[in-house]
Symmetry: C3
Amino acid sequence: MNTEPPLLLALDFTGTFAFALNGALTAVRATRLDIVGVLTLGMITALGGGILRDLLIGQTPPGALQDWRYLAVALGGALVAFALGQWLHRLETPINVLDAIGLSTFAVLGANKAVEAGLGIGPAIILGAITGVGGGTIRDTLIGRIPSVLQSDLYAIPALIGAALTVAALHTGLYGLPAALAAAAVCFLVRMIGVHFGLQAPAPPGGRA
Amino acid sequence: MNTEPPLLLALDFTGTFAFALNGALTAVRATRLDIVGVLTLGMITALGGGILRDLLIGQTPPGALQDWRYLAVALGGALVAFALGQWLHRLETPINVLDAIGLSTFAVLGANKAVEAGLGIGPAIILGAITGVGGGTIRDTLIGRIPSVLQSDLYAIPALIGAALTVAALHTGLYGLPAALAAAAVCFLVRMIGVHFGLQAPAPPGGRA
Amino acid sequence: MNTEPPLLLALDFTGTFAFALNGALTAVRATRLDIVGVLTLGMITALGGGILRDLLIGQTPPGALQDWRYLAVALGGALVAFALGQWLHRLETPINVLDAIGLSTFAVLGANKAVEAGLGIGPAIILGAITGVGGGTIRDTLIGRIPSVLQSDLYAIPALIGAALTVAALHTGLYGLPAALAAAAVCFLVRMIGVHFGLQAPAPPGGRA
């Protein structure tokens, strides 16, 4: 069982639910799927990043397969998307907010787990970001889309910032609940500013080479 | 080396051969490949699900890389598909039967290994299904197709049923050769009924949301 | 930290740089990406094969996440591609040569690591080849292309030859720096002959079945 402080655990479950809901909705919109496909892709979106991180740091079985609450929350989010998908596009703003909470929490907790596993600064930041963006990347690849995180929007960059702040706090001995929340808040703000203003990461000079 | 009872081992090899043959045939029909591609995709279809399960439960190197007979049987199936692919579409029914034997055996043995690795009921059922459908999913993703298991046919659902029956037998102390064969037989029957009647898993309400 | 002899380590870094550069260039040419996408795909091309091998032999965290020099060299190669991509297509021949150095070194060192991890002859040869071709395969899958290694050119076959020679040298007690360089040289030559003459691996009889 996860032993995070209750507030972080609540954020983690919120993010898991939002990722599963949003991931399943994205999958339903992009292609024809049956119930197996919708639930699978929702759960992969929610749990895939953490599972990938756990495989890379050698923590097996991954936490998402050891603590049944993550599977249950992810299944719940995907089921809501399956049943109510037609009505949920009216809720784009709250879903975006919940998704950004998930991105922030996953990046901070993922970077923390990577440091605890003994990884250096660079790899820990990368693994924090992978925790945040990995699930959506696997989902996009499975439905034949180039992962949006590689192409557009500020999505990986806020995750990298949140993970970097977490690693900095850990290396200076300042990590704790306030620092984790502050790092997540910065990630969340950068993400929401990006959504609001439609910011894009820089493209290669001259466009397509 | 695998220490399953001889009958289960024979079914496991039969399934491995059928998955490699069928996986390589699917790959050849879907896209232009050379011998490396045909053999690789055949072997991935046959061994990918079990390798994914072993990575997730932390059993490394995966069994398929430790017991040379699995590699040999998978290579054999893929070579037959490479050499005789043009003639094999006449054999659709026997290939479907062999493929369903593979699905059933993989789901039952995969769920059993997951329980032995200490996983709970839900994750063990999921890992049993992954053992059955994971290889074909990787193959479809590599050749640029949305995995058919996410879209159509009753394929994941019989695997989930077979895995669930296996986990139930293990948790009630009834697991053994007869229970394993019974669980596999139910999975096999559901799969063959699905093939025969063209059954589909339910799609999201309203179709594409 | 990697403890290979300095010459092999230099070849390994050269290959890592070349794979990252070439991988990022391929990604930029194939699709619209932002800086996150270009750097991610360059680094995945360079490091993905070795990470996949390390996951499969159970060496976690993977070497590429433990020795910061690999991450740094891969990031450097991808940054050069991002900044100078428009001018680099004039350098096709030197990039092909560097890429073949990477393929050869990765195949030899990867097969060696697989044998050290206790794998048998067949799996060790396969893991050597995966070390060489795995990164490009993941990159191609992420950008929605069927991996070129499955379709065309002599790319996997020289890697398999280099890995097989390495395993043979290890099993006969002849492995050492000269044998490693000889195995890499054979792989390199087969690859360059393939590039020069446009050789293709055999396709299934009758083309698409």
